[in-house]
């Protein structure tokens, strides 16, 4: 006879990102890489002389840019996008802990961070907003004839400024990834250890472990050693349905 312990014995890694999310991330990263690399000689005249072929660079830049939102929309569209949509809603919503984490170095230590911290949430929103604004301004620059000329100037101005910001943010994103190897690995394997989660995403770990307990209690099998995404999700959905029964800690 065993009772569910407060700290579930399950020590298997947690699934942080499913295959669709990881695929989307790297396709997106590749397209961003193309758009940003081709942007450099387009912006910096002295490099333009080295690369030449401006026309070709423009075509690559424009069509990679137009393609950018496609994988995101495809990944969101079908039943395969359930986890992605769930994570988008996590990115969107900020709790008091998120504000504490971002704005107070004293309260950051106590903040109960969920699956994503406030910096990651900001990054996601910024990249999303950037795609829309860069696509709109870039389209006005490329297909300018229906628009007033001042729009073309304004669009160029916005495209320039935001491009600079994107270079800074993406450089930061890569720097954080390289200094947080476990998180970087999870963008490839999808998995993180519970030790990692305890440190960086304690509220999420708690949520996942509550879901596991709930799953065990209801007789849903959660095989040890492989806490598969779909199962953890369905348990997580159960948790949501039972929120009135299981009080949040």
């Amino acid at each position: 006879m065993t009772l569910p312990s407060a700290e579930p014995a399950n020590s298997a890694d947690l699934e942080r990102f499913d295959l669709v999310e990881r695929g989307l991330h790297w396709v997106n990263a590749g397209l961003f890489g193309v758009v940003m690399l081709t942007a450099v000689p387009l912006y910096i005249g002295s490099l333009a002389g080295i690369f030449g072929r401006r026309h070709l660079l423009v075509e690559i830049h424009v069509w990679a840019g137009v393609a950018l939102p496609v994988p995101l929309l495809l990944a969101l569209a079908g039943p395969w996008g359930r986890n992605l949509r769930d994570d988008l809603s996590r990115f969107n919503r900020w709790t008091k802990d998120d504000f504490d984490w971002l704005f107070s170095s004293a309260r950051r230590l106590q903040a109960r961070v969920g699956k994503f911290n406030a910096g990651q949430k900001l990054n996601a929103a910024f990249i999303g907003g950037s795609i829309v604004v860069m696509l709109a301004t870039g389209s006005i620059m490329k297909w300018f004839s229906p628009f007033p000329n001042s729009w073309r100037t304004g669009a160029t101005f916005v495209h320039d400024l935001l491009a600079t910001a994107i270079f800074v943010v993406v450089a930061g994103h890569i720097a954080f990834a390289l200094t947080h190897v476990d998180a970087l690995r999870s963008s490839i394997t999808g998995r993180v250890s519970r030790t990692w989660a305890r440190r960086y995403a304690p509220a999420w770990l708690e949520e996942m472990e509550r879901a596991e307990v709930l799953g065990t209690q209801r007789g849903v099998s959660t095989p040890r050693g492989s806490l598969a995404g779909s199962q953890s999700r369905s348990a997580s959905a159960d948790l949501k349905a039972n929120r009135s029964v299981i009080p949040p800690t």
Binding site: R54, L88, G129, N149, S150, F157
Partner: protein, 234 residues
């Protein structure tokens, strides 16, 4: 619904809103910024290139890459309705009376580079040297990239601020800027200043150039064409 404040959505919508405002007002913001920053950027030389959105040259070419020719191999042909065709080397051009023009360079897409120094030969001098035949009323300029063309009326070509330039900011005109020799039409938008100038032909009437065939104004006066209201430069 997940609890919490929808900050992500607000950031996203805020960026979209700012982007739209920027498209509508960016032209004014940019020219104001340019005025404010001009003392700084002109005092510090290359600094302006580091300020995003500030006014620096953008390099355009309509072909794949830049056409390139050595200074020794370069030739400028002046022909068509002239009394005597010319076939000029770079040295020939440099032996002619030298003119310096310092003007803002204004692109029709909105960017403007303050106080750019050009050196070269006035186009009017070349026209005198070749002799304009009766009936000629316009000029056609061919780039040696094989694609780009431009046009001017005869009276525009005789202005004292229209030149065949071989000097740029104290040095030669680099390949990226249209060297070794390009046209420089100071009072008009940049597309009139054909890069990589290879031939000038006098003709009986204006033949619209590369961009003019795609809807740009043929008479490209800065501030009075293409629906723009930039301050004139000369």
């Amino acid at each position: 619904m997940r609890p919490g404040t929808p900050v992500g959505r607000r950031v996203f919508l805020g960026m979209a809103g700012l982007g739209a405002v920027g498209i509508l007002t960016g032209a004014k913001v940019q020219s104001a910024l340019g005025r404010v920053l001009q003392p700084v950027t002109s005092a510090s030389g290359g600094l302006s290139a580091l300020i995003p959105g500030s006014d620096t040259f953008r390099i355009y070419t309509v072909t794949d890459g830049f056409p390139s020719v050595t200074d020794d191999a370069y030739r400028l042909k002046v022909g068509g309705m002239v009394n005597q065709s010319l076939d000029l080397t770079l040295a020939d051009l440099k032996a002619m009376p030298r003119t310096t023009l310092v003007r803002d360079f204004q692109c029709v897409t909105g960017w403007r580079v303050p106080n750019v120094r050009w050196e070269g030969v006035l186009l009017s001098h070349l026209l005198e040297a070749a002799g304009v035949a009766p009936g000629a009323s316009a000029l056609v300029f061919d780039s040696f990239d094989g694609v780009y063309t431009e046009s001017l009326t005869l009276s525009q070509a005789r202005r004292p601020d229209v030149m065949v330039a071989y000097g740029f900011e104290g040095g030669p005109v680099s390949t990226a800027h249209g060297g070794p020799v390009r046209l420089y039409v100071a009072p008009m938008y940049g597309y009139k200043s054909a890069k990589w100038l290879g031939a000038i032909n006098l003709v009986g009437g204006v033949e619209p150039g590369y961009w003019e065939q795609q809807g740009y104004d043929v008479d490209a006066w800065i501030g009075a064409s293409n629906g723009r209201h930039d301050a004139p430069v000369s």
